[in-house]
Symmetry: C2
Subunit: 225 residues, 2 copies
């Protein structure tokens, strides 16, 4: 479903050039559950942003469901992002003055439907925030904000879920509960790509790809016990 | 050095009241290395903000070095925060348009000194960001932003370091390097209080306090092997 060929990303800051990604090749098939690991600054979020159609590569090609993304119009890209994908950002990217309930309803603005509010409530209950619906980000703990970001990414039933360190701000138990949600969605056929630096989380995925200095350096299946 | 007695924090949102902290008693002595753990939303950041003089309790008393903090003037509080304490925020709280080098120099504005820039460079090199000095937050990875926040907290040589999940965004190895920095500072006599949900990090501290639903429920020494 995702095919990345020779993708490079270079940031030009005038005095220096940062090669955030170097010649990355990667194929992701429908229904996979993949962990993306690697040191801080190795290019994981950069790749997630390119795959999530939030950023463009400097070089190389990216095919999503057989269509070359650089051939898509702005509208097509926006529709793909909104309908096919759910994205959990590493820093949550919540609107600062918006309640949890409204944050989670945002992706449904275009898909519409009468039951937006009840679907948003369901999504927030599923991540344990049923009693925080009207709290704004400053009225939520770090882990609670992360869970709002997850609920928002899942509410439109996307087929492709991109999660950039979705358990980073959570204690072990809340992290395991979130992982169980992702595993259940994967069992329903959703494709899940998760950046994580936690070994337990990676062990619950079926494939691990590793980055180092902008390059993909390892790609291995997880042994099932 | 820190004495917290019967501290409670209640948020009144009109329709609901959230008891973020309930009757917390805690003593922290000079030179301790303490891990603060507990589920998401259990009150850890709230307590850190009160101890860090960034917020006030609704009830109870807090003595810092023998002085009751509620008797301090705004100026005295500001001076304490700036000189005695280094605070690493759970969400880093970096200025969005400011380079790493300037972010780290901010705490030194009042303490002044000719060597501000070289001290900031040293602090950034110590966390592995010597080659990212002029990058702004949007030009840094999540883990790099976290490390800028740590460098900023340490640059003024504070005697009390409060770190709210300082390794949350870091891969295992960068996290271990950061922990080694904290251990070295503690060996020099600095008092360190660290919120973490990572067991390895907690095991490297000498005391673990645990929160649940706003209450302190456990306080134990870490067995030295
Ligand atoms: N806009 C930018 N301008 C310049 N350099 C950038 C920019 N964005 C990212 N970088 C650099 O690109 C590299 C890769 O960043 P990326 O965010 O992908 O890392 P990461 O693997 O997600 O790290 P982390 O685990 O810390 O989140 C980093 O070294 C970073 O400094
Ligand atoms: N301004 C506020 N108004 C209302 N409730 C708040 C406010 N700030 C925090 N809370 C609530 O207080 C509780 C404690 O929050 P706190 O940030 O201390 O948790 P935490 O232990 O740091 O959690 P995490 O591990 O997720 O960061 C949470 O349930 C949160 O929803
Ligand atoms: Mg990242
Ligand atoms: Mg917190």
């Amino acid at each position: 479903v995702i095919s990345v060929r020779d993708i490079s990303k270079i940031y030009d800051l005038g005095s220096t050039r940062v090669h955030a990604l170097r010649h990355v090749d990667l194929d992701i098939h429908r229904g996979e559950l993949i962990a993306v690991m690697g040191p801080s600054g190795s290019g994981k979020s950069t790749l997630m942003n390119i795959i999530g159609c939030l950023d463009q590569a400097s070089e190389g090609d990216y095919w999503l469901d057989g269509v070359n993304v650089s051939d898509m119009t702005e509208d097509e890209l926006a529709r793909v992002r909104n309908r096919k994908m759910g994205f959990v950002f590493q820093q949550f990217n919540l609107l600062p003055r918006t309640s949890a309930l409204r944050q989670v309803q945002l992706p449904m603005i275009y898909s519409g439907g009468e039951d937006r509010e009840s679907r948003a409530i369901e999504a927030l209950k599923a991540v344990g925030l049923g009693d925080r619906l009207d709290h704004k980000p400053t009225e939520l703990s770090g882990g609670q904000q992360q869970r709002v970001a997850v609920a928002r990414a899942l509410v439109n039933n996307p087929t492709l879920i991109m999660a950039d360190e979705p358990t980073g701000a959570l204690d072990t138990r809340s992290g395991q509960e979130l992982l169980a949600i992702f595993q259940r969605l994967n069992a329903q056929g959703k494709t899940i790509v998760m950046v994580t630096h936690e070994y337990d989380v990676a062990m619950h995925c079926r494939r691990i790809v590793r980055f180092k200095d902008g390059r993909l350096v390892a790609d291995e299946s997880v042994e099932q016990p």
